[in-house]
């Protein structure tokens, strides 16, 4: 159905931040004075537009909430016509609100956080660029448009990770993120090409169909094709969402400024993979094998991320491990089909709030601690920065699934849905999710205790202090989200709201007291207790102890880099060396030899040009004789 009213100008959502980025980047130093305000204003403007669209959508009947906006015919090649358009439906509007809402808060926070930075304007330009690209990603009505947004957020992520490019570690991290994401993007490209080859179109409406019953072209293809497309899309999702085996870049990405870690590498961009899987649900539903692969990736990542989170002393890296783990939950849920979609998206939104809050809280701590990120140098900060402590604490309670807070509702939902899958796989997946919940409780408590409790371990010259209002107000707003978002979504009618898109019907019911729920609560208490025994009650050494095998492995990101290096990088380098050797000896030898040969021939033939007319005439005569002979011989 065509969009009307404010929805008809949905392109404003993308245009506003894009204009902001353009003005700030092209305007140069002239915009330094007010650049951050413009950037924030554009983001807020997009939020207002998104909110208005949302309100308008609520006015429609559930079946009529899917609206399309045709922008223009992008290109036509042969029979392939690509229309650029936007799709506003409950799924995309949820993302729009998350992106613009959390995004705007982070813009505001950054005004304070980046106040000392000379390049604050450029930072805001990149943030705007990111918001625009992310909105295109979730609003596009076809896979090519989605892919453009997908690459756009990748670019923004690259620019922002390497924002402090004078630091070699930041430059390397940016490059790493870019390279690893290329692997995933390759999957996306092939998937899109395969869809084009199979369906002759890349439009969501035509491939996936409309409404809960779908009936798109995908229903007509074989399971093999659907599985192939599904697995390739999963590869793309793994790259962007830092899922195994493409997880390695996310931890290094913490080199970027903290608001970036909060916005891009926790709340929004890294969840794009989940969006992709949920949006492509009809494909995965036809391909049980691909779905199983999705759940396995999710379960493995949620454990790996949690274990990594346990070993990190760098507060941002611990939170990054946590992000991996939480997205693992979402991917797991997305792989469960319609039963899990709602919880995946609900957890995604709730996570967006509490993880952004946690990251910004970490940023606030670092702000007061001279940008030190080592938690072993913190301790006892509770009284020094009360607001940060309180908001961080709410985020903490939310993420460990403390009853009543955001994470409780959404995570319980995922665990229950995993067990509901039934069979051995259901038990294993549910078990992994439960175990993950316990570890989450442990490592998050570790972060909490090491940072805010225990004795003070900071240096003499560090004077911890609370951050300015411009930073703490967003923290408070996000804390509200940590408190209520999950409950609001799960207990409210979010499931029914999403149902026209993702289907699932009655599967979204939430039962307050279930066996997995009780088990999760018990495990959470155990996790917190162990953490208290190790980090709350005991003294935390300023230098990290040697640690057990598992701790060492967790500190080294479970050897992710080592595996990448030995399996891909080294063989790649050998291959490169081999190619260089071959190029030097073989190709160059051949080329140089050829060149020398041609040059020598040239020198010799040149001598025929004696300058004497008589020899010229002779060669003409001989040539003529040959031509005559050739014609006569051919005829005989």
């Amino acid at each position: 159905m065509k969009a009307e009213g404010i929805q008809a100008v949905a392109w404003l959502l993308i245009a506003l931040p894009l204009a902001g980025a353009a003005i700030l980047l092209l305007g140069g130093r002239r915009t330094d004075k007010w650049g951050h305000l413009l950037g924030t204003g554009m983001s807020l403007g997009a939020f207002v537009v998104g909110l208005a669209m949302f309100v308008q959508m609520l006015g429609y009947d559930p079946e009529e909430r899917r609206r399309t906006i045709h922008l223009y015919e992008w290109f036509t090649v042969g029979h392939f016509k690509l229309d650029m358009g936007l799709l506003v439906d409950p799924l995309s509007i949820s993302f729009v609100l998350l992106i613009t809402g959390v995004g705007s808060l982070i813009h505001i926070y950054s005004i304070g956080y980046m106040a000392e930075d000379d390049d604050r304007r450029r930072f805001f330009a990149y943030l705007n660029l990111f918001v625009a690209a992310m909105l295109l990603l979730v609003l596009a009505d076809n896979y090519v448009g989605l892919f453009i947004g997908w690459e756009g957020v990748g670019l923004a992520s690259y620019l922002l990770i390497g924002f402090w490019q004078h630091k070699p570690s930041a430059a390397t991290a940016a490059k790493k993120a870019f390279v690893v994401n290329r692997v995933g993007d390759l999957g996306m490209v092939i998937a899109i090409s395969l869809m084009f080859a199979t369906f002759g179109t890349v439009s969501f409406t035509q491939i996936l169909g409309e409404g809960a019953h779908h009936l798109g072209m995908v229903e007509q293809v074989g399971q093999g094709t659907a599985t192939a497309i599904g697995l390739l899309l999963l590869l793309g999702a793994c790259g962007k969402s830092a899922q195994l085996p493409l997880q390695s870049w996310l931890l290094d990405a913490m080199e970027g400024p903290t608001p970036v870690s909060a916005l891009i590498h926790a709340a929004t961009m890294v969840t794009a993979g989940v969006y992709l899987i949920v949006r492509s649900g009809p494909i995965f539903e036809l391909a049980p094998d691909a779905q199983l692969a999705v759940t396995i990736v999710g379960a493995a990542t949620l454990l790996a991320g949690a274990i990594i989170g346990c070993g990190k002393d760098d507060i941002k890296k611990a939170l990054a491990g946590s992000t991996m783990s939480q997205i693992g939950y979402m991917v797991l849920a997305a792989g469960l089909g319609p039963a899990g979609y709602v919880f995946a998206i609900a957890h995604l939104i709730a996570h967006g709030f509490f993880k952004a809050g946690l990251f910004l809280g970490a940023g606030s701590v670092m702000h007061g601690m001279k940008n030190d990120v080592n938690m072993r140098h913190y301790g006892g900060l509770r009284t020094m920065m009360v607001i940060t402590w309180a908001t961080f604490g709410l985020g903490y309670l939310a993420i460990i699934g403390f009853p009543g807070l955001s994470g409780f509702f959404t995570k319980e939902g995922i665990i229950a849905a995993a067990f509901d899958k039934g069979g051995t796989s259901g038990m294993i997946l549910g078990g992994c999710a439960l175990l993950g919940a316990a570890i989450t409780a442990y490592y998050m408590s570790r972060v909490m205790f090491m940072t805010f409790y225990g004795e003070r371990r900071w240096e003499e010259d560090v004077h911890p202090h609370e951050s300015p209002k411009v930073m703490t107000v967003p923290l408070m707003l996000l804390a509200l989200g940590s408190l209520f978002a999950g409950g609001f979504l799960v207990l409210g009618s979010f499931g029914h709201f999403l149902e026209p898109v993702v289907g699932g019907g009655e599967a979204h019911g939430f039962h307050l007291i279930t066996a997995p729920g009780i088990a999760a609560f018990v495990l959470m208490v155990i996790g917190v207790a162990i953490a208290w025994r190790q980090y709350g009650a005991r003294k935390v050494p300023r230098e990290a102890p040697a640690g057990s095998f598992l701790t060492v492995a967790a500190r080294k990101d479970l050897y992710g880099d080592a595996i990448n290096e030995s399996l891909i990088m080294r063989p790649g380098q050998w291959l490169t060396r081999l190619a260089v050797y071959f190029d030097n000896k073989g190709v160059d030898g051949l080329v140089n030899g050829l060149a020398a040969g041609v040059g020598g021939t040239s020198g010799r033939v040149r001598r025929l040009q004696t300058g004497f007319v008589r020899s010229y005439a002779l060669s003409m005569f001989l040539g003529a004789a040959v031509v005559v002979a050739a014609l006569l011989v051919v005829n005989v």
């Binding site: 040059g599 033939v605 007319v613 020899s615 060669s619 003529a624 040959v626 005559v628 014609l631």
Partner: protein, 521 residues
Amino acid sequence: MSAGVHIIAAPGDIPAPHIEYGQLAPMLIVFGVAVLGVLVEALAGRPWRYRIQVPLAFAGLLAAFVWTIVLAWRHEPFHVAAMGALGVDGPTLFLQGTILVLALVSLLLIAERSAAHFTAQASALPGSEAEQQSMSAGITQTEIFPLMMFAVGGMLMFPASNDLLTMFVALEVLSLPLYLLCGLARRRRLLSQEAAVKYFLLGAFSSAFFLYGAALLYGYAGSVRLSDISAQAGQGAGGETLLLAGIALLSVGLLFKLGAVPFHMWKPDVYQGAPTPITALMASCTLVSAFGALLRVYYVGFETLRWDWRPAMWGVAIITMVVGAVVAITQTDIKRMLAYSSIAHAGFLLTGVVATSRQGLSGTLFYLAAYGFTTIGAFAVVTMVRDAGGEAAHLSRWAGLGRRSPVIAGVFAFFLLAMAGIPLTSGFTGKFAVFSAAVDGGATPLVVVGVLASAIAAFFYVRVIVVMFFSDPEADGPSVVVSPATATAVALGLTVTVVLGVLPQPVLDLAGTAASQMFVR
């Protein structure tokens, strides 16, 4: 006495030929202007001659060009004119138009006064008293204008000739003034005169081949008209040896004019020795004209025999491309290098001729137009780079030109890249057109050789660019003299090279339309 009276008294015996003046007007205008030019030389005072000759020549060429366009515009069915002696048809009009435009651009160079390319007095011995005197008297050789107009007239007639005798006359009309013009260089006059003599001797030699071939063909077919020869050959009337030997010898005469190997020896020497504006005229207009004649002969006269002449032409095309590209590598003189480049391009063009199809014809037409502009532009740049001894033609003198005059060096580099056939230049489009036609015509091996030769050729084009931009300039290096007329010629060459590379479709369509009607018989 009585016999003479009888001839005069019996008008019915020799009917006055029917001449289609309208269709032949471009040629007639050019020839008329040439004759007028001779009269100007005879009647006008010396100070006035240059001032009259230049506008006259421009006006003549322009009028002829406009008339050509009008002829092409009318879309009337073409037929042979002047009692079958000339054929004015689509391809011919395209060729004539191209020749006229290229001649206009060449005229800009020839009329360039500040550079003084031509000797003040051709008869004076080099370095003699007489030469000194005539130079100090500020005499300019204005005979070059009527000479050039005669040559251009011959060039217009050459591809239009529908019988071999007319074609021979046209060949001589275009050649004789060029022999003369070649010897008129102001600097390095001995080299120039040597070039003129060589060109004349070898040209005479090749004319003999042409004439011998024409005679054999007349012996075979009993007619010198191309259509008659074609018809006779179609019947398979016997005397094949006569026919084939005739084709071979005729081809030698034509291949000489376009400088195909092994009839190319004159080209480097003449291109180097001739005054550079004349070299530009020869490298563009003469090439177009000679190819036009070759196309007409092969497409009209010998089309039915293409299985007989194709192998030999394959051989000539291959050896022309390879020798042109290979020998160019070791050249140290810019003009000689461009001469070998022109030989290689003649080879590329021959692949289009060998295709013997409409596509091949239109591709060749396009290539000729594109290459003509590029090569004039390149030679125009050569005239601008000068030192005390005139043009600094040695490659080593061009070292570091890119730093001294980045614009001129950049433009020259662009022409070279166009000749190398880099995409987004007209050279690429042209090569693509003829090569794809050749592939469609079953001449894939020829195209493979062509592409390899292009790769070799790219080497020496790029080498010049490297010398210009990546070596240190000499202390007493040449300077770039920019004058309005030459700069206009360079700008025109550059514009066409760019436009035909980026937006070639209109001209490709034009060549396609011209070729779609084929030659009249």
